[in-house]
């Protein structure tokens, strides 16, 4: 007999064994279903929890990644300890935040700093003829989009030439463009802030973090100027709005002098990011008496998020393992009862020529059918739950292709593992005694 004939024979045996197994399980439909239920819930919970967990961390990680994993972001923060000082300085100029000196030092001394992207903001109304939006003029540099992973939706960003030439050009964020020019093509149009006019050369996508925040609190108050940004060369900003910003707020003037509102430092190598962050921290601590800055290291956040996710996965894995174990024990319990109940059938089969391994195979197949069917059903339920969560709770869920595959494979392996003992017990019965069994 050649090999392919043997394979054909065993394949045909497998097919018949499976048919037989299904027939035997079908005799006790309810019992089989209840037995498989343990595996159904085990597998479903694994897939569902993974998908929901993955979705939650995916959203967070995406936002962090959008910040750029090789970036270190510094922001100016208005100092908080101004309760008493504020009384005296009400009419004075409040000076705080990141300075030219900080940036020069960082660029000169911190190893690995490739470029920096400084920015300054002026908050005021932005006008398109008579249409106005409460927004921000953001003075920055021409390499802003590349470093910040922001895509241009239309047109272009301003160039280095325009930056050097202090040109009155601007790029609008998508939300701003939509608000200022609801009907027209914005490119080529003019936007006014205070007494200055800027020509629109492009539209850039919204900051993903702001976009996500806006989506999650649809009707939430928040700052209406959030994300309504008009980007212009930082030199142009200085020319038009000066160094000191005046604001009229709650009955009194506030004057602020902030050299940079935000500076992003781009680090050449990923492994240099954490040391660079420490060095920058050190420079800022020396230069500033009070903490009027904030440092964000996306890579650090990312690593933390990943560690959190790892812990989550371990907890999840343990829960999954326990629930599958419970399911497996349930199956074994029922199979042991089945074997006892079918002692006589085993005796008959042995008398009619079944070898021990035929009996082992028969009962093992039954357990695997049970656990496999439970696994399949579990995959179905496990995929349905995250879909329902996404649909009804409006949460992102991510079903990774390997999760159902692995969960199903494990359920089949559980069937084999917990099926072996009952099957071997069945096969080891003495045929004469098995035939005498009532």
């Amino acid at each position: 007999m050649n090999l392919s004939a043997i394979r054909e024979l065993s394949l045909f045996r497998l097919k018949r064994a499976i048919t037989l197994g299904i027939k035997s399980l079908w005799m006790h439909k309810l019992r089989s279903f209840l037995t498989a239920l343990g595996i159904v819930f085990g597998v479903a919970s694994v897939i569902a929890m993974l998908a929901i967990g993955e979705g939650a961390s995916y959203e967070a990680q995406q936002q962090i990644k959008d910040l750029g994993s090789q970036n270190i972001i510094l922001e100016s923060v208005k100092p908080t300890n101004t309760t008493t000082a504020g009384e005296q300085e009400r009419s004075l100029i409040l000076e705080y935040g990141l300075t030219y000196r900080d940036i020069a030092q960082i660029q000169a001394t911190v190893p690995g700093v490739e470029v920096t992207i400084p920015s300054r903001k002026v908050k005021d109304f932005l006008w398109n003829v008579s249409n106005s939006v409460d927004g921000v003029a953001l003075g920055t540099v021409s390499w802003f989009p590349t470093m910040k992973n922001r895509e241009l939706v239309r047109g272009r960003f301003f160039t280095e030439m325009e930056m050097k030439g202090r040109s009155p050009v601007c790029v609008l964020t998508e939300s701003l463009a939509r608000n200022l020019f609801p009907l027209d093509e914005p490119i080529g149009q003019t936007v006014r802030m205070k007494n200055s006019y800027f020509r629109v050369v492009g539209v850039i996508e919204d900051d993903s973090a702001i976009a996500a925040a806006a989506e999650s609190e649809l009707e939430g108050g928040g700052d209406s100027s959030e994300g309504m940004e008009m980007m212009i060369p930082i030199s142009t900003l200085e020319d038009h709005f000066g160094e000191v910003l005046f604001k009229y707020r709650s009955g009194s003037f506030e004057a602020e002098k902030v050299e940079f509102h935000e500076v992003t430092a781009r680090i050449e190598q990923p492994e240099q990011v954490m040391p660079a962050a420490l060095a920058i921290q050190h420079i800022l601590e020396t230069n500033h008496d009070e903490v009027d800055y904030k440092m964000t290291v996306p890579l650090d956040l990312l690593q933390r998020a990943e560690r959190t996710k790892q812990i989550f996965n371990i907890v999840l894995g343990s829960i999954a393992a326990i629930s599958l174990l419970v399911g497996g024990i349930g199956i074994m319990n029922i199979m042991l009862a089945t074997v006892t109940e079918r002692t006589r059938e085993i005796g008959i089969r042995r008398a009619l020529g079944a070898k021990k391994k035929d009996i082992v195979f028969q009962f093992l197949i039954e357990t695997v059918i049970l656990s496999g069917a439970g696994g399949l059903l579990g995959v179905g339920v496990g995929i349905a739950i995250p879909l329902a969560v996404t649909h009804f709770a409006d949460m992102v869920t991510v079903i990774q292709f390997w999760a159902p595959t692995i969960a199903f494979t494990i359920s089949v392996m559980i069937g084999i593992l917990f099926g072996i003992y009952p099957a071997v017990r069945a096969a080891d019965m003495n045929p004469v005694e098995a035939l005498r069994h009532e």
Binding site: F12, A351, L352, K355, K356
Partner: protein
């Protein structure tokens, strides 16, 4: 009936002129029951020839089933040798014993012993399945045999939908499916009324006329009159073994 119960276990039987299909030499079966050793079978010497049609009789507990189980390779002797078709099967490993049962022996039990989740035709196929016969072939053989025992119309019925006599006929068809050298029946009519019982015995008669070797245990003296050869057991020993003459 002369000599009933008086012949010794070594009594010569008049053998037909051929090699025996079954030969037991000095077979004993012992069971250890706590401190006592129960000798269920003692000093059994027996030759069974192709075409034999044998009734085994004896009081309850005399060892009839024990002997039939050994003849059927379901059990092995404690002492002695068992040759089946010239092969010593008394010390074969388990797998080979299964093989022998599946190829050479057919069983018929008192309580039919059909598999409940299988249909009539599927029950008849079971021995062929374990011989590795493709389903198409075995289905044909099984359907043919079902027709032969008068159940051609009930191929797809479940055992629970059949009467006792019908179930026993399925069991006979099943015992025949692998074309065995010997058919063994342990009180095959024990659970049946006299009408169904005699139907079954008629099938046995026909099978023997076709040349099959049959060994059946019975409690019914009347049935012993049907078979050409009668073996009586007493306390685990063969007390009587002879051919009735003239053979039927």
């Amino acid at each position: 009936m002369p000599d009933r119960g008086l012949a010794s276990s070594t009594a010569a039987v008049s053998p037909p002129q051929s090699d025996p299909v079954i030969e037991l030499r000095g077979v004993e079966k012992h069971y250890q029951m706590g401190p006592t050793l129960v000798k269920a079978l003692r000093r059994i010497d027996l030759k069974i020839f192709p075409g034999d049609y044998i009734s085994i009789l004896g009081p309850s507990g005399c060892g009839k089933s024990t002997m039939l189980n050994i003849l059927g390779c379901l059990d092995q002797p404690s002492i002695g040798d068992y040759f089946l078709d010239g092969v010593d099967v008394s010390e074969l490993p388990d797998d080979e014993l299964s093989q022998v049962r599946g190829k050479k022996l057919g069983f018929i039990f008192q309580s039919y012993n059909l598999i409940q989740q299988l249909s009539v035709v599927e029950n008849i196929e079971v021995p062929l399945y374990y011989q590795g016969m493709p389903e198409k072939e075995s289905r044909e053989i099984a359907a043919e045999l079902a027709k032969k025992v008068g159940l051609g119309e009930r191929l797809d019925h479940r055992p629970t939908e059949l009467s006792g006599g019908q179930q026993q006929r399925v069991a006979i068809a099943r015992a025949l499916s692998n074309d065995p050298s010997v058919i063994l029946a342990d009180e095959a009519t024990g659970n049946l009324d006299s009408k169904s019982g005699s139907d079954i015995l008629e099938i046995f008669d026909e099978l023997n006329e076709d040349g099959k070797t049959l060994i059946m245990i019975t409690h019914d003296e009347g049935m012993a009159d049907r078979t050409p050869r009668v073996i009586r057991l007493k306390d685990g020993e063969i007390a009587f073994d002879t051919y009735r003459d003239p053979p039927q």
